[in-house]
């Protein structure tokens, strides 16, 4: 057929040579396979014979037919090309004239040359996401925290960083974790322009031994700096009234193997900068062994007044000086050494007024207390850390030391008549060492931990004039009473844990062996004039306690598709020994506890989740409250307890349901919890006519139970760009209390709710409104009831009048049912402006514009109703400049 073409062509050339070959010709045809079946989807193109450029193209339809409109071709013949992946290539030459053809294509897979032009670019190395800081920096950003806040996937709750809704497990700079969880100090002070990339390593397993064996769903944040450098930032501000200051100077060094951060900060503006020293995480990932160290027990306190439940900066009257320095050195062997020291000195004032009603079986006692307190807090903290994190082994040892010494002074006006002065000193000195090691033996992960902790905690309370005359001084008034307490404690904890996965099961048994020893020495002095008497037996404690503990635990988890089930079965065996003034009051007493808990979650569809959990078991009170000599806890309360182990049997159950539909912005949850406690004892309070309480323990069984229900719904109304959230709760509880020899049941019913409306319709203005309502009804002895009602409204407005300017107005309105109490209204304002040229921010804050001096609140406990006034920071104005270097 093809051979015929030149012949035909010549004929056509002869026939048409006189016609201009312009205009349009239509070449149509049909393509068939060897079985004469039409072939669809074949690319048909044409070109000038001998040329490479395609002039036009089409495709065959389902019937294998094609039509090619050939335009503007000043040529007599055309080459047609037929292309299909599953057929051999075919080219034919036809005359440039309207005609129809039929061709057959031979089956045959096209052998394509493989091509590789370049390597595929790495967009995400492993699980690391790189955020280039420069592309996220806007003119408003100063420190790295301003950038991190904006990164996709990252949110900040206060100073805490969350990635995809979960807390980050580490915060590093150049892959080194200098601050061990105290990262907010870097976040707030490292200039953004020193950082090249913020990296988020998803699913990061920070412990190399566990890498690719135990999955982690947590993320690590790393700051990759532009160069090894010395940098930092600062702030200076002042205001009125009284005279206000705020200063901050934070230099840092980030070298190749050495890092350092120091900071000096001081203010009296209500900013508790000591919070920057609190870690957001301790330890590392899977082995976040207990590396935190709290304070030793405090037995005494001065009378305080309840602090308001809103922003601390509105009421905290402080004067703080803080210094910290932190260093890190990485050795060539891979060993990391870290050290840190910090110190702060904080002076706080707190003033208020409390009216307390005590409801005893036959009378109601009303006491009023005017409180004027001065607190001085001193804290010195230091630590050394060594860590080896290798493929074969994980080793970590951390040594911590602290000394905290506080001095509190309290002047109290009792019932607007008696002036009582209190002085408390409290010191806690502590040392702790925590060791962790982990490695694999076969498929079994073996984890060993050992911690040693020591505390020495002397404390002293002096009250003038002396109280509790009946108990302490035969009913005669006296000048001064003094409670002395020295506590020392030692704890040694060792554990061994195995973890293994079998398909859908994870099984993790563990064994632990611990020792706790403590010594408690207390005594009471009463003074009249120059004469000081130390009270004898019954008023002193000279205790020597120890407790051995063996713990066997099991954890089993099963997970399959929509179901997840977990069970923990901790069993503990205790051996107690207590010596009071040389006499054994408890000698080798053995107790066992078993506190299993189980939880099941079922998520039938992505939008719904349902869970049930049950837990129960018995517990024994520790030895810290084991004293039978009186201890004055506060000017108005004194207690002693029995030398007896207190048993509590608990049972709790809960069930909940969650629904979420993000698309339609409907969310709902409903939870119910039930709790029940049975005790073989009851705390027995005696209140005298002045409201002074004496507490001891009585051998009567007692119990409590509670039901709680809470639920919420929220919805987004898109035409108004408004979110409405509604939450509500209701609860019923019953509990026994023993007051002045009478066993009474207390019943509490409470219900309430909140309504929130958040509007974002305009980009220049944002509006947030919240209302809360709460009602509590307390029924006590003789069906005496009291009711508390509160209803608060909050309105927050933010304006962005121009670029670089922002104005915030916060309104709060408080209403409660305290008779004679007027409703209260608070107003604050903040204005921010940026000085672009000087790389500095200017901020003007006006707080408490209406100059309200007091905040009033009320709450109730077992047998008392408390109404309290709290003195707030007065109206104040502050101007501040923030800079970096």
């Amino acid at each position: 057929m093809i051979k015929l073409i030149p012949y035909r062509l010549t004929i056509w050339m002869l026939l048409l040579s006189s016609l201009p070959a312009m205009g349009q010709t239509l070449i149509s045809g049909e393509l068939l396979d060897a079985d004469r079946k039409p072939i669809p989807n074949v690319s048909v193109s044409y070109r000038k014979v001998g040329e490479q450029i395609i002039r036009g193209y089409t495709k065959t339809d389902t019937g294998g037919a094609f039509k090619l409109a050939v335009k503007n071709m000043l040529t007599d013949s055309l080459q047609l090309d037929f292309n299909h992946l599953s057929y051999a290539k075919k080219s034919v030459t036809v005359a440039n004239r309207t005609a129809a053809y039929t061709y057959t294509l031979k089956a045959g897979v096209r052998q394509l040359e493989e091509v590789k032009v370049a390597d595929i670019p790495i967009f995400k190395r492993g699980d690391t996401i790189n955020y280039s800081v420069s592309s996220f920096t806007s003119k408003n950003d100063r420190v790295i925290g301003d950038i991190i806040r904006k990164l996709p996937g990252i949110e900040m709750l206060g100073d805490r960083i969350l990635y995809q809704g979960t807390e980050i497990q580490q915060y590093k700079v150049n892959n080194l974790d200098l601050m061990e969880g105290r990262y907010s100090i870097i976040n707030k002070n490292l200039p953004a322009d020193a950082v090249k990339n913020v990296q988020v390593v998803e699913n990061d397993q920070p412990i190399k031994v566990l890498d690719s064996i135990i999955p982690s769903d947590k993320a690590t944040l790393n700051l990759e700096l532009k160069k090894f450098t010395t940098t930092g930032s600062g702030k200076a501000g002042g205001g009125l009234s009284p005279g206000l200051w705020a200063l901050n100077l934070t230099p840092m060094v980030f070298g190749k193997t050495f890092q350092m951060l120091s900071s000096f900060q001081t203010n009296n503006t209500g900013d508790d900068v000591a919070k920057q020293l609190r870690p957001f995480y301790t330890g590392k990932g899977y082995f976040s062994a207990n590396e935190s160290m709290g304070n030793g027990p405090s037995y005494i306190s001065i009378r305080n007044v309840a602090t308001p439940g809103f922003d601390e900066k509105k009421w905290l009257d402080n004067k703080i000086f803080l210094f910290t320095t932190n260093v890190l050195q990485k050795l060539e062997s891979g060993l990391e050494l870290k050290g840190n020291v910090s110190y702060y000195d904080d002076t706080r004032k707190r003033q208020g007024f409390t009216a307390t009603r005590y409801f005893t079986a036959d009378e109601t006692i009303l006491n009023t207390e005017g409180v004027d307190n001065d607190y001085r807090l001193n804290a010195l903290d230091g630590g050394v850390l060594m860590e080896k994190n290798e493929k074969e082994i994980y080793l970590r040892n951390r040594l911590l030391y602290h000394k905290h010494w506080n001095r509190d002074l309290g002047d109290l006006l009792f019932n607007e008549r008696d002036i009582i002065s209190q002085r408390r000193t409290y010191t806690d000195e502590a040392l702790k060492n925590a060791f962790t090691m982990a490695r694999f033996w076969g498929k079994q992960l073996v984890h060993i931990r050992s911690t040693v902790e020591w505390h020495r905690t002397p404390q002293r309370l002096t009250v003038v004039p002396g109280q509790f005359e009946d108990i302490l001084n035969g009913g005669d008034p006296y000048d001064r009473m003094e409670q002395r307490v020295v506590y020392s404690g030692f704890a040694w904890d060792n554990g061994l844990k195995f973890t293994r996965k079998f398909g859908r099961w994870t099984i993790s048994p563990d064994i632990a062996f611990s020792y706790y020893g403590s010594k408690l020495h207390t005594g009471i002095d009463i003074a009249q004039g120059d004469q000081v008497d130390t009270l004898g037996v019954g008023y002193l404690n000279d205790m020597d306690n120890d407790q051995w503990e063996l713990a066997l635990g099991g954890y089993v988890e099963w997970e399959y598709k929509k179901w997840k089930f977990s069970l923990t079965t901790p069993y503990h065996l205790y051996r107690y020994h207590v010596q009071q003034q040389g006499v054994s009051t408890l000698d080798g007493a053995i107790r066992q506890t078993f506190t299993p808990s189980a939880r099941m979650t079922f998520s039938p569809r992505g939008n719904h989740e349902w869970n049930v959990s049950v837990s129960g078991g018995n517990q024994y009170g520790g030895l810290d409250n084991f004293y039978n000599g009186y201890i004055i806890g506060q000017y108005h309360s004194i207690q002693r307890y029995d030398a007896r182990l207190l048993r509590t049997d608990r049972f709790a159950a809960s069930t909940g349901y969650n629904y979420k539909n993000t698309l339609q912005a409907n969310f709902a949850h409903l939870y119910y919890t039930y709790g029940q406690n049975e005790r073989d004892h009851i705390f027995h309070s005696s209140i005298d006519s002045l409201g002074r309480s004496t507490v001891n323990i009585s051998d009567r069984s007692s119990g409590s139970s509670s039901h709680n229900l809470n639920g919420g719904i929220s919805r987004f109304f898109s035409p108004f760009k408004t979110v409405v959230k509604l939450n509500a709760y209701a609860g019923w509880s019953r509990s026994d209390y023993l007051l002045n020899e009478e066993l009474v049941k207390q019943r509490v019913e409470r219900f309430g709710g909140t309504l929130e409306v958040i509007n974002s319709l305009s980009s220049d203005l944002s509006v947030e409104y919240k209302m809360s309502y709460g009602h509590t009804r307390n029924t006590l002895a003789n069906s005496r009831t009291n009711r508390l009602t509160s209803n608060n409204h909050y309105l927050n407005l933010v304006f962005y009048p121009w670029e670089k300017h922002a104005l915030t107005l916060s309104n709060a309105y408080y209403h409660n049912n305290i008779t004679g109490q007027r409703d209260q209204y608070f107003l604050d304002a903040t204005y921010r402006y940026q000085l672009k040229k000087w790389k500095t921010d200017l901020e003007l804050t006006a707080q408490n514009l209406l100059n309200n001096s007091r905040y009033v609140q009320q709450f109730s406990s077992d047998y008392e109703l408390v109404q309290s006034y709290f003195e707030l920071r007065p109206r104040q104005f502050l101007v501040s400049l923030s800079f970096r270097f």
Binding site: L85, F123, P152, Q164
Partner: protein, 284 residues
């Protein structure tokens, strides 16, 4: 007899009731499995913010081809899907609000239709696709104009073709010697594989990186939480835009609480959405 018809009546009513409650266009989940013999990898570069040259990003994409169907998607999506498919893994992280990712789409080209499957509203807070929007386009929708210009690219003699599509002017270079009328994104219909294509303003560009023979079985739309919904193309883009402008409020309604940083976060998210202004197809 009366009773029976009464029952029937009830049943029809309840069926009607359900049918009215459920949106008509929700399509039953449609898992599809394909076998492909050829993988073409393109490097896609794009400028996220038309006002910011610094915002250029790169993403590798793949075109999988057999003799009747092709599938185009990002390699990131492909990897994620294959892990999920073989391990039935469910996401266990939580997402934060922001612009909808524009690269989760899968484009299936076959005779008679170019079908786009795209999580129209991105991921929910639980990292699961909220809804897969589906829209069909006619494969002859691309009014290519081929020119006589040629250039050798990636070792192939390529010819230039031009196209107005999605509010942009595109220039493509195709290789007639590779007998596939396919290319990256929705681009197809030329007599040869597209080796490179970019818009004339230089915001979007696809360059061939690799062409290799593979044996791949690929499943799409297999996740049990997938809800597919048919859209017209115009509605798809409008709904997505509407969702993005409300995304902060939606997540807030979902219970994310930003406390005193709320305004900062809201501004940052709005800024990010504002900067994500250079979608591959521009629709007013």
């Amino acid at each position: 007899m009366m009773m029976k018809s009464f029952h029937i009546h009830i049943n029809i009513n309840s069926i009607l009731f359900m049918a009215l409650l459920l949106p008509q266009t929700i399509i039953a989940q449609q898992k599809q499995v394909f076998r492909f013999g050829l993988q073409v990898t393109y490097n896609m570069s794009y400028q996220k913010d038309s006002n910011d040259v610094q915002s250029v990003r790169k993403l590798p994409m793949e075109l999988l081809v057999n003799d009747s169907v092709s599938l185009f998607r990002s390699i990131k999506k492909a990897r994620k899907d294959s892990v999920d498919y073989y391990s039935e893994k469910e996401p266990n992280m939580i997402s934060a609000p922001g612009p909808v990712s524009k690269f989760e789409y899968q484009i299936v080209k076959k005779k008679g239709a170019v079908i786009t499957y795209d999580p129209i509203f991105g991921m929910g807070p639980d990292l699961k696709e909220l809804m897969i929007g589906v829209y069909h386009e006619d494969p002859d929708f691309l009014p290519w104009q081929i020119t006589a210009d040629t250039l050798t690219k990636a070792g192939f003699l390529c010819q230039k073709a031009m196209l107005d599509f999605g509010g942009r002017h595109w220039t493509a270079w195709f290789a007639p010697e590779i007998p596939m009328s396919d290319g990256p994104y929705k681009f197809c219909g030329l007599p040869g594989l597209i080796i490179s294509i970019g818009d004339t303003k230089g915001y979007w560009r696809f360059e061939l990186v690799e062409l290799k023979k593979v044996e791949r079985e690929v499943a799409i739309n297999f996740q049990d939480w997938y809800r597919l919904k048919q859209f017209s193309k115009k509605d798809f883009f409008m709904e997505r835009k509407k969702y993005e402008s409300n995304v902060f409020a939606l997540f807030e309604a979902a219970g994310l609480n930003f406390k005193d940083k709320r305004e900062i976060v809201r501004k940052a998210i709005n800024e990010r959405i504002l900067k994500d202004n250079n979608w591959i197809e521009l629709y007013p």
